[in-house]
């Protein structure tokens, strides 16, 4: 069980890094944003994993029952906020992509640089 516990964290780290790599290695502006959202989502999995308690139940109080183990509510609360922040960033990023496409006719980073260098 102990190994499984760490296995969970490691997979999450790998997921985070795939997202991060997509973000910094690709030149397509939409793909970068997809990478960012995978990166952020994976960080959220890490948080939620922190809150889990084996044998626990969702943090909704059950009436009349004592000695119930509830999963930690704090990571959930933080991640609810983080999800909203993530989609907010994504919306602004995509709006920028639309405008860049209108101004340059492309969303590939190298082609944009070429156009700016010519001038």
């Amino acid at each position: 069980m102990r190994l499984l516990g760490y296995f969970n964290y490691w997979i999450v780290v790998v997921l985070m890094m795939v997202g991060f790599y997509t973000m910094i290695s690709r030149g397509n502006l939409v793909k970068k944003l997809v990478g960012l959202s995978v990166f952020q989502t994976s960080v959220m999995i890490l948080y939620i994993s922190l809150g889990k308690i084996f044998g626990g139940t969702a943090p909704i109080l059950l009436e009349g029952q004592e000695h119930v183990i509830y999963t930690n509510p704090i990571p959930s609360v933080l991640i609810l906020t983080a999800i909203v922040v993530g989609v907010a960033t994504l919306a602004v990023g995509l709006a920028l992509v639309v405008r860049i496409n209108e101004a340059y006719g492309t969303i590939e980073e190298d082609e944009i640089h070429q156009q700016d260098d010519v001038m």
């Binding site: 999995i45 889990k52 308690i53 999963t71």
Partner: protein, 197 residues
């Protein structure tokens, strides 16, 4: 049983993430990112974070996908083939990932009830929110009251996102060309119209 499902979902997440990286058709990429969010929502449910699962499904799989598809309807849908193997990003990612794995290797093990995170602030919410707030859903109590100020910040963040999007997209396209003093002046003189209009 839980462990099997957990590993399966994590494995599927891994496959999706790698597919996301490799596929160059952006519509497929966007769909995959929607699937990624749905898988995450499933994982959150298993980790007892039902509120988060609900939100992730609505936002990650719903809103984000709609926004990305909306963008793709305006731009080219095929990613260019990467010109060269990016060495630096690979290095950065390997170092970052290595450091993180090093860091998590002494983290409190997954799912144990006596982890420090479960012993300090959270117990108060679990034990007291029932009579301090009087609502069964602890997440709602914390979100609305104990950490209500964060939620106000969150509401402001989405409002800010709207302001940003409207600033960028509200009127017709402008500054197609690099801007120069003469052009700008000419624009400005033209019947006093706005230089960007």
């Amino acid at each position: 049983m839980d462990a099997v499902v957990d590993i399966t979902v994590l494995a599927l997440l891994g496959v999706t993430a790698v597919a996301l990286l490799r596929i160059r058709n952006l519509v497929a990429v966007v769909m995959l990112s929607g699937i990624y969010s749905l898988l995450c929502a499933a994982l959150y449910t298993m980790l007892d974070a039902v509120d988060v699962a609900f939100t992730e499904a609505a936002v990650g799989a719903g809103i984000s996908t709609v926004l990305m598809l909306g963008t793709l309807s305006l731009v080219k849908r095929e990613e260019k083939k990467p010109a060269h193997r990016p060495i630096l990003p690979l290095f950065v990612v390997l170092v970052t990932g290595g450091v993180l794995i090093y860091g998590t290797s002494e983290m409190p093990p997954f799912g144990q009830a006596d982890n420090p995170a479960h012993l300090h602030v959270a117990p108060r919410y679990v034990e007291e929110s029932g009579h301090e707030i009087g609502m069964p859903n602890i997440v709602t109590s914390v979100l609305g009251s104990y950490r209500g100020y964060d939620t106000m910040g969150e509401t402001t963040v989405i409002f800010t996102a709207l302001v940003g999007v409207l600033l960028l997209l509200s009127t017709g396209p402008r500054n197609r060309r690099p801007w120069s003093a003469e052009e700008r002046k000419a624009d400005h003189d033209r019947a006093g119209t706005d230089p960007h209009g």
